[in-house]
Symmetry: C2
Subunit: 410 residues, 2 copies
């Protein structure tokens, strides 16, 4: 303790070039990941609008699935593990993520959305951010330890830009790696990359959806107890999602040995199911349905429908993320729970939005910050309770199976 001022001059001045280097690298990551996210979001908007105007295209989903499967089969085996590949490389650096991850996941996701699969977007943005960041590794001869931080900054930046939530993005990149702990050593690069990527994405003209959270009830015994009950339900829903996604994926691999056939058959099943039960609202991102869950009562089985279509889409090999579908599942589930728990629709929709994701991804602090960034600070204490409860009740698994078990949950 007493020798701390002896190291003052050495340690703090030695820090300056390192900080300067990381600020430059984080800015480059921000520019790359933010631009990639912006191009992705704008393309996705067009694809979604086109699909909504030409709904017959769902019948071509098997063909699109076969195409995506074939491209990954021929050119994408090194990157098909997606987010899990990145998390593994952070834990145990082996080799640079191939740049081809960027066009493959971008193209695969846009095609999946265009033809009507039920997938998200965070996986795409996170993979693009991390793969682009990792290209600096060879260019700048980054050390293996530095490469870890670079990959975390890329994940943070992609997440921050795609949702417009820089603080949630920062903590997501740190919290997603291992269940039960956060490491502080990559904080500054992750913040600068997240904040920069968000700004770059906005500068491209991207607008993020606004969700009107309305009235938040006061903190009190009954409101907190109701939110804990809701958090348990959200956590079980997150676990059900993660477990069934793994099982459907494993079953598809076991039964259909030729990889490109998996999304083709998945596409046939999805197209028939969409047509059979008129389930248009479960295709694509479903942003209008999420917005509606903040405004009025929705069907109590909507959360299940979205879970079914998303698990089928991702499990059979369509590309995209899990998070926006988890927002959808959470918002509609929260909406359905609102009358039972005597809380406002919008408040419980907002809590479900973040908490099902918190449970499925094991990221309670990132999702609490996301709630504050998207819905304002008044939701903060309730979001913290809902996200932590969901995290506790979502079991030992999660949507990212490369995630380590840090300390255990409880």
């Amino acid at each position: 303790m007493t020798n701390s001022s002896n190291i003052f001059h050495i340690e703090q001045i030695a820090l300056l070039p390192s900080i300067g280097k990381w600020l430059c690298m984080a800015s480059v990551v921000a520019a790359l990941a933010g631009s990639a996210a912006a191009i992705f979001l704008m393309t996705l908007d067009h694809a979604t609008a086109w699909r909504e105007a030409h709904r017959w295209i769902i019948w071509l989903l098997p063909v699109a699935g076969f195409g995506v499967g074939m491209v990954y089969h021929l050119a994408g085996r090194s990157v098909e593990r997606g987010n899990n590949l990145i998390i593994d490389e952070i834990h145990d650096p082996q080799k640079v993520i191939p740049l081809r991850m960027v066009p493959l996941v971008l193209g695969g996701t846009v095609v999946s959305h265009l033809f009507g699969a039920s997938v998200g977007r965070e996986g795409t943005a996170v993979q693009m951010g991390a793969a682009l960041a990792d290209q600096l590794t060879q260019l700048l001869r980054v050390t293996p330890e530095g490469r870890r931080v670079l990959l975390m900054a890329g994940m943070s930046a992609g997440f921050a830009a795609v949702f417009g939530t820089p603080l949630a993005g920062t903590i997501f990149g740190l919290e997603v790696l291992a269940i039960g702990r956060i490491r502080h050593d990559a904080l500054l690069p992750c913040i600068v990359a997240s904040l920069g990527a968000d700004q770059v994405c906005l500068a491209w003209g991207v607008h993020h959806t606004h969700y009107a959270i309305g009235t938040i009830v006061p903190v009190g015994f009954w409101s907190v107890a109701a939110v804990i009950v809701a958090g348990i339900v959200f956590g079980l829903a997150g676990m059900a999602f993660a477990v069934s996604a793994h099982r459907v994926g494993a079953a598809a691999k076991r039964w259909i040995s030729y990889a490109p056939l998996r999304p083709a058959i998945g596409g046939i099943l999805i197209a028939l199911a969409v047509w059979g039960v008129d389930a248009w609202r479960y295709t694509g991102l479903g942003i209008p349905e999420i917005v509606r869950a903040f405004q009025q009562p929705v069907s109590p089985w909507d959360f299940f429908g979205k879970m079914f279509f998303t698990v089928l889409s991702l499990g059979t090999g369509f590309k995209g993320g899990e998070v926006t579908p988890l927002f959808y599942i959470g918002a509609t589930l929260g909406n359905a729970l609102a009358p039972i728990l005597h809380l406002p629709f919008a408040m419980l929709a907002g809590l479900g939005f973040v908490a099902v994701f918190a449970g499925a991804a094991n990221t309670p602090i990132a999702t609490t910050l996301m709630a504050i960034e998207l819905f304002g600070p008044a939701i903060g204490p309730f979001a913290a309770i809902a996200c932590v409860t969901a995290y506790l009740f979502s079991g030992r698994t999660g949507i990212y199976h490369a995630q380590l078990i840090g300390l255990g949950k409880h």
Copy 2:
């Protein structure tokens, strides 16, 4: 992974009684810590008002110091390590914190404030919260592992109640224990205790000071660069505070072997200095001066004056916390930096308020949340950058020397 649904029924249902037990215990902790904080804050208000109306009382500060020193010498040796004792007990549970910690630190702090020492209040609230929480250990036969969580919940609750910031309180209780990491396993008890203690404290009629943060400039290259520069200065100030507090404390112990004489001599020095340079504004908490730093330019040496008086007060054995003086140091230092960095006074005062504390206590995430809770979400990204930069530049020490070095900072 695939056996996760087999454990569904067992694990999730087994969790319910444990969660229920912790919710009850956290509620009791909330009631105790919140009430103690409320009584403390109300008493402190009276003591401060009385001192301001009877300024001659500063000449009795040596007598008061001797009294506080004598009481701790005779009855308080088991608890005089304060926050560090609690942190040590969490890391390595030995024996229950004596209940006498509560009246001793409460009385010692109020007397210190009444007679004009420059001390804070978080240490008092945190020690009362943790000591009261720890009394449940024997009553309910809590296991050593459970006792760790109970002590963390008590710290969180005391912090949350005294500043009116439940989310910052929650993370403070988890983040303060070790430099460089956060553990998730005590999250739910800490949230519930924090939120409850804040509500209990408000229900007693306590009002927290409102700081008007005014305009936040847009995120951009120059504003982020300026905040990084400010963060470096805030971190060095936090380190200077921590190092000089340790040194003055060690010097007082070396030179003055009879413990009660240390605050007596400290009191003489403080009274002479206050009288000599008319330094009334450095006595007590200094809330009016903190508020002023958000409104108008203040002296550029105010931060140094407050640091001098606080280090002298705490180093010679007056009781109270470090945090409100750190808010004062940070707000006035930020105010002084504002014209140089071309940023608004209030914005930099707010950033200094949290970031000097972040550097001195090594708690960057708790302080970022505190900024959002006190000043609104627009400050969030800048607060994150300032707090993390300050944390990186504050060296390997901190105001709590029982804090472990978890992973290193960078």
